[in-house]
């Protein structure tokens, strides 16, 4: 599966209208110098073309304003991943202005041009390169204007901190603000001036602290639920007890008797509204509803057999050599099955939206990773033309892939249309768990083999329902095949992209299998990997991780509790090493994690380090505890009491090694999470000799594996 294909899987229901007219934008921009650009990466452009609904115009622009300030307008959103800081870094460098004179306007569909959404670790890879080219174009325009103004040729000019001066007479100078004043210059990127060479960059590559931190530590930062509108009502919506339940009758009379409560029924939507959210909540508790519920035998225990039975479509991702030949070459053959359960996104901010209709225009403030997608959905739900719909994504309180869908925005808009009042829909934690698009439960089956000398001779890999991202192995194996299986109605509820989709499942299975073979070969797991690798990038990060970790060779289980795993995601390569302690009850304490990451040129080393720490910390959750329990369409986990995520006491010492590279920048938000299942599984084996084949590796499962010996 190609890098971007999972996006298609995830976004098949996009019905993008044409973007707003260019003139509409120009009205709101004001004066100055404006450069429009389209995302130049062919893979993204190709993905969009295949969908056939691409904005043919532009999808970002930047302005050098009459005050000399630089502003980037982008449909990307900030959900903690830090692009609010790294995008301005790139612009500051390209335009030679101080970082604090760069502004960024994000996620507002009236102010920002069309954008597919913020996911897939794509902002830095696909959005920043053309943005740098646009900045180079703006700089070229400014240089031309300055040459005219200062009456010297362009090559006699230098720029520093937004001031252009004559190299021969430094008193002969002019500021960006003076040049932009009273101008209205539009440029459209056709021939792209080359941006600066990476070696010339001064702001990029330097650690920069978050620019949204001050607002966030003072409580000033606005998330969707913090928007307050005059006359606004809070809605609580009647929800079914299970995804497959059908409403047969509803009695809202008791709720209607409550003072100030308004009840709305519109087809399947039953909502109670009040000017106070807690009163709306109390009113909902008084609504009585009956449902028809089918019997279902699918639950969190039987799901894996169900998946294997349901799979009806297969796709060969990669193959080489001849599997029968590989089997003949193998002195030892290993057949293993790996499982992982459904996992929730569980951001601390629940899905929230506020909708207001004024005249024929609707504005929706929503916690969403894809404001332009919501725009089209709201337009369709209300029967409004898309140009009358404005979506604003304020700060998003964590997304991880779970806020690419925005059901709550549509619900708020429908209720606003029915009532004529501004409406807030904020999900409870139970609704958050119920309507989450979980990381899918999945099965991986691997048959592999090694020769007497410890060379991998066979690799036959099949993944069911996780998806293909990260499934292709990168070891030097002569006879191999990678298949992805799926199809049919497999899941009793919604599933979707969860931070590094599919790759957590695939990397756990692959790296566990590699360790099983290393142990059989009687080799240190790092040496076994190096012996079976030709890929220089992986070799380099494995060595870098081993250096920092202080890895010394030993055959597992060595009793030390050391583990290793490596992989690739979003163009970035990662290698992890971990040290764990396991007690007799199967409780694991991860003491230390080293992550070496090769992500090409690092735009903001501080931001990249934060993302690695985030991945390692969040990843411990799916490795050790996170698992959705369910019975048919009924979700049995509804809050953090039974659905455990990583806590303070679990947090290991985390060390990040960023490899020096001047290759083009790659993704940083997701890669370092992919190894967490594998590295912990391998460390548990090294500590105890117990091999875990199922995520999460709960104390009960570890204890059972230890007893098996």
């Amino acid at each position: 599966m190609k890098e971007n294909e999972y996006l298609d899987l995830d976004f098949t229901d996009i019905t993008t209208q044409l973007p707003l007219d260019r003139r509409e934008f120009l009205k709101v921009i004001g004066g100055g110098i404006v450069v429009f650009l389209t995302i130049g990466d062919p893979t993204t452009a190709e993905a969009q073309r295949r969908r056939g609904r691409l904005p043919t115009d532009f999808n970002a622009f930047l302005r050098v304003g009459e005050d000399g300030r630089v502003t980037c307008f982008t449909g990307k959103i900030e959900m903690g991943q830090g692009v609010i800081t790294s995008i301005p870094q790139s612009l500051a460098d390209e335009l030679d202005v101080p970082l604090d004179s760069v502004d960024i306007v994000m996620g507002d569909t009236d102010l920002c041009p069309w954008d597919m959404g913020t996911f897939g670790s794509m902002t830095t890879r696909f959005f920043v390169p053309p943005l740098r080219e646009a900045a180079a174009e703006a700089r070229a325009v400014l240089m031309e204007l300055a040459a005219e103004h200062l009456k010297v040729p362009v090559d006699q000019l230098r720029v520093e901190a937004g001031v252009i001066s004559d190299k021969k007479n430094s008193k002969n100078k002019v500021t960006y603000a003076e040049l932009a004043k009273g101008k209205k210059i539009e440029r459209y990127m056709e021939e792209k001036p080359p941006p600066k060479d990476f070696s010339e960059l001064k702001v990029v590559g330097k650690p920069v602290m978050r620019r949204d931190a001050l607002e966030k530590v003072t409580g000033v930062a606005k998330f969707a639920g913090d928007i307050r509108l005059s006359g606004m009502l809070y809605a609580r919506i009647l929800r079914p007890p299970a995804h497959d339940a059908k409403l047969t009758s509803v009695d809202t009379s008791a709720a209607e008797k409550m003072e100030g409560v308004q009840v709305v029924r519109d087809g399947d939507l039953v909502a109670v509204l009040h000017k106070l959210p807690d009163v709306a909540e109390a009113a909902l508790a008084k609504v009585k509803a009956q449902y028809d519920r089918p019997e279902s035998s699918v639950n969190d225990k039987t799901i894996f057999d169900h998946l294997l039975k349901t799979a009806s479509e297969s796709d060969t991702g990669a193959e080489g050599g001849n599997l029968a030949e590989g089997k003949k070459l193998s002195a030892h053959v290993f057949e293993e099955t790996y499982l992982n359960s459904y996992v929730a996104h569980a951001p601390i901010e629940n899905h929230t939206a506020i909708a207001r209709i004024k005249g024929n225009k609707v504005t929706v403030w929503a916690s969403t990773q894809a404001p332009f997608r919501v725009k089209d959905q709201v337009a369709e739900a209300l029967g409004f033309p898309a140009e009358n719909v404005r979506i604003i994504a304020p700060f998003v309180g964590g997304g991880f892939g779970g806020k690419t869908r925005c059901q709550q925005g549509i619900e708020a808009a429908r209720l606003a249309k029915i009532t004529g009042k501004p409406i807030q829909v904020a999900w409870s934690r139970a609704e958050e768990f119920f309507y989450d698009t979980f990381r899918p439960a999945a099965v991986v089956k691997i048959t592999s083999g090694i020769t007497d000398s410890g060379r991998i001779s066979l690799w036959d890999y099949g993944v069911y329902y996780a998806g293909g991202r990260g499934s292709q192995q990168f070891y030097d194996i002569p006879h191999h095949r990678t298949m992805t299986h799926g199809g049919g109605r497999a899941h009793p509820f919604g599933t979707g992209a969860w931070r590094a989709p599919a790759n957590n499942t695939n990397t756990f299975a692959r790296e566990s299998q590699i360790d099983i073979m290393a142990a059989k070969a009687g080799m240190d797991p790092v040496e076994f990997r190096l012996k079976n690798l030709k890929n220089e990038q992986v070799i380099r990060i494995l060595k870098a991780a081993a250096d920092r970790f202080g890895w010394t060779p030993a055959k597992a289980p060595s009793g030390r509790g050391y583990g290793v795993a490596c992989g690739t995601d979003a163009g970035t390569w990662v290698a992890h090493m971990a040290e764990v302690e396991v007690d007799k009850n199967g409780h694991v304490q991860v003491k230390r994690v080293v992550c070496a990451q090769d992500m090409g040129l690092v735009i903001n080393p501080q931001g990249a380090t934060l993302q690695v720490e985030s991945c390692v910390t969040m990843g411990l959750g799916y490795a050790l505890a996170e698992e959705i329990r369910f019975k048919g369409g009924e979700i049995l986990d509804s809050n953090f009491d039974t659905y455990e995520i990583t806590r303070f006491s679990w947090t290991p010492e985390i060390e990040t090694v960023l490899i020096d590279s001047d290759a083009s920048p790659q993704g940083g938000g997701e890669p370092a999470i992919i190894c967490m299942g594998g590295v912990v599984a391998n460390a548990i084996f090294d500590a105890t000799g117990a091999r875990l084949f199922q995520l999460p590796m709960t104390p009960a499962r570890i204890k059972e594996a230890m007893q098996k010996g």
Partner: protein, 160 residues
């Protein structure tokens, strides 16, 4: 039942007539417009709604507003004084101890109460008292460091 409550909110005296059984969280967020206090889980598990009542951290989603009568409430909006950030706020910024920032107000206020009681906590003591505040972005390690830094600064300043 409607009742009149008097309490101090972020240093200012307040008087409100309202149903005392309502939760402090929604009174803060809706009636008083103080949206820095966040709703996370609604059951007192995640800590996003933490505020300070008479120096103790409380889960405002589980706390009846009548119980603030005669007491002093501090929310994230009241932590900085005269425009100066509290040392904890400064340390959260300088350590990059946040990402999405949604759990941050609760984290800072819980830490504030810890430092009032224990001005020089060990790492273990910090972990123990912060354990029930959840962060999905994975900033725990940096939050621990920020609390240690703030504790040092408060010690140097000689006041909390």
């Amino acid at each position: 039942m409607m009742e009149t409550l008097s309490f101090k909110l972020n240093g200012k005296p307040m008087e409100m007539a309202l149903d005392g059984e309502r939760s402090l969280l929604w009174v803060l967020r809706t009636d008083l417009g103080l949206t820095g206090t966040k709703f996370g889980c609604g059951e007192g598990i995640c800590g996003a709604c933490t505020v300070i009542v008479d120096k103790e951290p409380v889960r405002s989603c589980q706390f009846s507003v009548k119980d603030v009568n005669g007491k002093e409430v501090i929310t994230i909006e009241g932590l900085s004084r005269n425009g100066d950030l509290h040392p904890l706020q400064k340390a959260f910024v300088s350590h990059d101890a946040l990402q999405c920032g949604f759990c941050t107000p609760g984290m800072i206020l819980n830490a504030y109460s810890l430092l009032l009681k224990n001005p020089e906590p060990t790492r273990e003591e910090i972990v123990e008292s912060m354990e029930d505040n959840l962060c999905r972005c994975g900033s725990y390690g940096r939050i621990i460091e920020a609390i240690q830094t703030a504790a040092q600064e408060i010690k140097l300043l000689g006041k909390a």
